[in-house]
C-alpha cells in the first residue's frame, strides 16, 4: 500500500514533503530539464530582493569536509523580473511555489511582501531572516528575536490571509527556541530551519581567505547534526507549528531523520549541486523507508522520536492493527 505522503504548511496542502531549499534551485527552470517540478511538494525560489543584485565576487564557493561554504550574495533579477518571468513560468506549470524574500530593512521586506500579494502562484512566502539589518549596523535579523519578529509581523500584516508566512531561522543564535517563539508570536504560520551557519576557510597555499567575501554560509551534511538539533528543540517547544527542516539532506534517510525530529516538510539544498535528480530520489527513498517501517501516512512519523522513552516503538504490526 502506498504511503500517504501529503503534508501541510498551515492550510496549504503539499502532495509530498520534499521542496528545494531557497537559493539552491535558481529560477526553477534549470532543474526542469532533469525532472518534472510538479512531482515535488513545492519549489522554493531563491531569495527575491527588490532590486536586481549582481551578488558577490568570485570565488564564491569553497569545499569543506562534508560541506561547502558559499557567499553568493543573493544574486538575482529583482522582484520585477521575478514577477514578470520566473513566477509566471512556474505558475503555468502548476508548480507549488514557496517564494523566499530578503531585505535589508523591515520596510523592504514589507514592500516585497506587498508586491507578492496579488501575484498569482505564490503558495507561501518564506522570509529569509539571515540578512544584515542595515538599520542596526548590519546585525543579521535572524540573530535577534525582536528584529525577526518585527519583520514577520510586518510581512504577515500585508500578505493575503491564505498565504502562509514562513520564518527562516539561523542556527547562529544563543537560543533558537526563543527566536522561533518570537516569530510565531509575531504571526509566522510556519518555521524553516536551518539557514547556513557562518563559516570560513583559508587557502593555505595563497594564505588568504578562500572566499572573496572572506566568510560564507556552511551547508551540506556537515551541518545536519545542527539542523536536527534545532528542529528537535523547536518542535519540542512548539509542537503545533509546522517546520520545514533542512541542512545536509542527501538521502531519504536524512530526510527521515529531520521528520522524526519534527519537520513536516524537508528542503533539499546542497544535495542538488551533486545530483540534480536529488529531490525525486530522496522522495522515493523516504517513501520506501516509511513503507518498510509500516507507516501508512507520513504525518504519523512527524516528531515521532520525541515519544517518551517508555513508549513502545511503533512498528509494522502496531500500525497495521491500528488501521483496521
Amino acid at each position: 500500500m502506498p504511503v500517504d505522503m501529503r503534508t501541510y504548511l498551515g492550510h496549504v496542502e503539499l502532495v509530498n514533503p520534499i521542496t528545494t531549499a531557497a537559493g539552491c534551485a535558481a529560477s526553477g527552470s534549470e532543474l526542469a530539464q532533469f525532472f518534472d517540478l510538479g512531482r515535488i511538494g513545492a519549489l522554493t525560489t531563491r531569495s527575491i530582493t527588490m532590486a536586481p543584485r549582481a551578488g558577490r565576487p568570485t570565488p564564491r564557493m569553497a569545499e569543506t569536509p562534508s560541506g561547502m561554504l558559499n557567499a553568493i550574495g543573493l544574486q538575482g533579477p529583482g522582484v520585477d523580473a521575478f514577477l514578470e518571468r520566473e513566477l509566471p513560468w512556474l505558475d503555468q506549470r502548476g508548480v507549488k511555489t514557496v517564494v523566499s524574500v530578503a531585505g535589508g530593512t523591515v520596510a523592504e521586506y514589507t514592500a516585497l511582501a506587498r508586491r507578492l500579494t496579488d501575484a498569482p502562484g505564490v503558495g507561501a512566502v518564506e522570509v529569509n531572516l539571515s540578512c544584515p539589518n542595515i538599520e542596526d549596523r548590519g546585525r543579521v535579523f535572524a540573530r535577534d528575536g525582536a528584529a525577526s519578529a518585527e519583520v514577520i509581523a510586518s510581512v504577515r500584516s500585508v500578505m493575503r490571509y491564505d498565504v502562509p508566512v514562513v520564518a527562516k531561522l539561523s542556527p547562529d543564535v544563543m537560543d533558537i527556541v526563543s527566536v522561533a517563539r518570537a516569530c510565531v508570536d509575531a504571526g509566522a504560520d510556519a518555521l524553516s530551519m536551518i539557514n547556513n551557519p557562518l563559516g570560513m576557510s583559508i587557502d593555505t597555499e595563497a594564505m588568504r581567505p578562500s572566499l572573496a567575501a572572506v566568510t560564507g554560509g556552511l551547508s551540506g551534511p556537515a551541518i545536519r547534526p545542527l539542523a536536527v538539533r534545532c528542529v528537535w528543540q523547536v518542535h519540542a517547544a512548539l509542537p503545533s507549528v509546522p517546520i520545514i527542516g533542512m541542512g545536509g539532506v542527501l538521502t531519504g534517510q536524512d530526510a527521515f531523520e529531520l521528520i522524526l525530529a519534527g519537520a513536516c516538510v524537508v528542503a533539499v539544498g546542497t544535495a542538488l549541486f551533486h545530483d540534480p535528480y536529488a529531490c525525486l530520489r530522496i522522495l522515493r527513498e523516504l517513501e520506501e523507508l516509511l513503507a518498510a517501517r509500516g507507516f501508512h501516512r507520513l504525518a504519523d512519523a512527524v516528531g515521532l522520536a520525541h515519544r517518551p522513552p517508555g513508549a513502545t516503538t511503533r512498528h509494522r504490526i502496531d500500525l497495521e492493527e491500528s488501521s483496521l
Partner: protein
C-alpha cells in the same frame, strides 16, 4: 549516470580516463564538459569536479574520455581509478562551441590541458571542410597536451613552452599574431587558463576576427543552480551581467568576457552594489 571505467592512461603530465557513458556520448558536442563525483561512497568531498570532454567514441554504446592534471584531493582520487571501477558522471553540460557555416580557416589555441577540448572542435570543423591550424602551449614540454595529434590533424601546428623545452620559448600569445597572419585565419577557438584566454581574445580583436573561448571558473553544480561560477559578460544590449559559466558558457565570444574584471563585480554590472543599474533590469 554511473559509468564503468574502460581504460586509464598517462599522457605526459596528464591522466586520461575513458568511461562508458552512452547517454553522454550520444548528446555530446564539442566544448561540452562533464561533472564527475569524486571520493566514492561516504566521501567528505561533496562537489563534483568539472572536466572538458576530450573524446567521444561509439564503443560499448558510447564512451567519453577526459584528460586531467592532479591538482587536489579530487583529481588525486581520480588518478587512482582503474579499469572496471565505476564513476558517477553528469553531462554533457554547458554550451558547446558554435561552428561556422562556411569552410573557413580556424586557429585553435590551447593552453595546458585546455588543448584536450579542441580536438573534438577540430574534428567538427574539418568535417565542414574548414582548415584547422593549432597553437598549443604550456609551461614545459610534458604539459603540452596533444602535440602529436595536432600535428596529424592541423595544417600547421605551432608549439610554445615557457621554458623552451618544446617549440618556441614563450607563450601562445607571442606566436598567435604570426600564425593568424600566415594562415589568414577567419576565426579563433581557444581553451586554457583565464589569462591566456584574455590574451588570445586581445589578439583576435586586433585582427578583427571572431574568437570563441571556453572559460574555467570554479563550479559547484555545473547545471546552473548554485550561482558560484559567474563572470562578467557583456550582453547583446551592452549591459554587463554576472553570468553563469556552466550554463551560459563555458564557451563565450571572447570579446564579450571582461577578462580584466574576472573575480570582481564591475561597478557597471547589472545589480552591482550601489550601482546606477538598480532599475535597469
Amino acid at each position: 549516470m554511473t559509468g564503468t571505467v574502460l581504460t586509464t592512461r598517462r599522457v605526459d603530465a596528464y591522466h586520461a580516463l575513458t568511461v562508458v557513458a552512452p547517454g553522454i556520448a550520444e548528446r555530446f558536442r564539442p566544448g561540452h564538459f562533464v561533472g564527475v563525483a569524486v571520493g566514492g561512497a561516504r566521501t567528505s568531498m561533496l562537489t563534483r569536479r568539472a572536466f572538458s570532454v576530450h573524446d567521444v567514441k561509439p564503443d560499448y554504446g558510447g564512451t567519453v574520455e577526459f584528460v586531467f592534471t592532479v591538482r587536489g584531493p579530487g583529481t588525486a582520487w581520480l588518478a587512482e581509478r582503474r579499469a572496471r571501477d565505476t564513476l558517477d558522471l553528469v553531462g554533457p553540460l554547458g554550451r558547446s562551441f558554435p561552428l561556422p557555416r562556411d569552410p573557413v580557416t580556424c586557429v585553435l589555441v590551447g593552453g595546458e590541458y585546455g588543448s584536450a577540448t579542441l580536438f573534438p572542435v577540430a574534428d567538427a570543423l574539418q568535417q565542414r571542410g574548414c582548415r584547422v591550424d593549432f597553437v598549443l602551449g604550456a609551461v614545459s614540454a610534458d604539459r603540452v597536451f596533444g602535440a602529436l595529434r595536432a600535428r596529424r590533424m592541423g595544417e600547421t601546428t605551432t608549439l610554445t613552452t615557457e621554458d623552451g623545452s618544446l617549440g618556441m620559448r614563450g607563450r601562445v600569445t607571442d606566436v598567435l599574431p604570426g600564425v593568424i597572419a600566415d594562415v589568414r585565419a577567419d576565426a579563433v577557438y581557444a581553451c586554457g587558463p583565464m589569462p591566456m584566454l584574455g590574451g588570445v581574445t586581445a589578439v583576435a580583436v586586433e585582427f578583427d576576427i571572431p574568437v570563441q573561448v571556453a572559460v574555467e571558473e570554479q563550479m559547484a553544480c555545473g547545471v546552473g543552480v548554485c550561482m558560484t561560477c559567474v563572470l562578467p559578460v557583456i550582453g547583446d544590449d551592452g549591459v554587463t551581467r554576472m553570468v553563469r559559466s556552466c550554463v551560459e558558457g563555458p564557451v563565450f565570444r571572447g570579446e564579450r568576457v571582461r577578462f580584466d574584471d574576472v573575480g570582481t563585480i564591475p561597478f557597471d554590472a547589472l545589480g552591482a552594489p550601489g550601482g546606477g543599474t538598480r532599475n535597469a533590469g
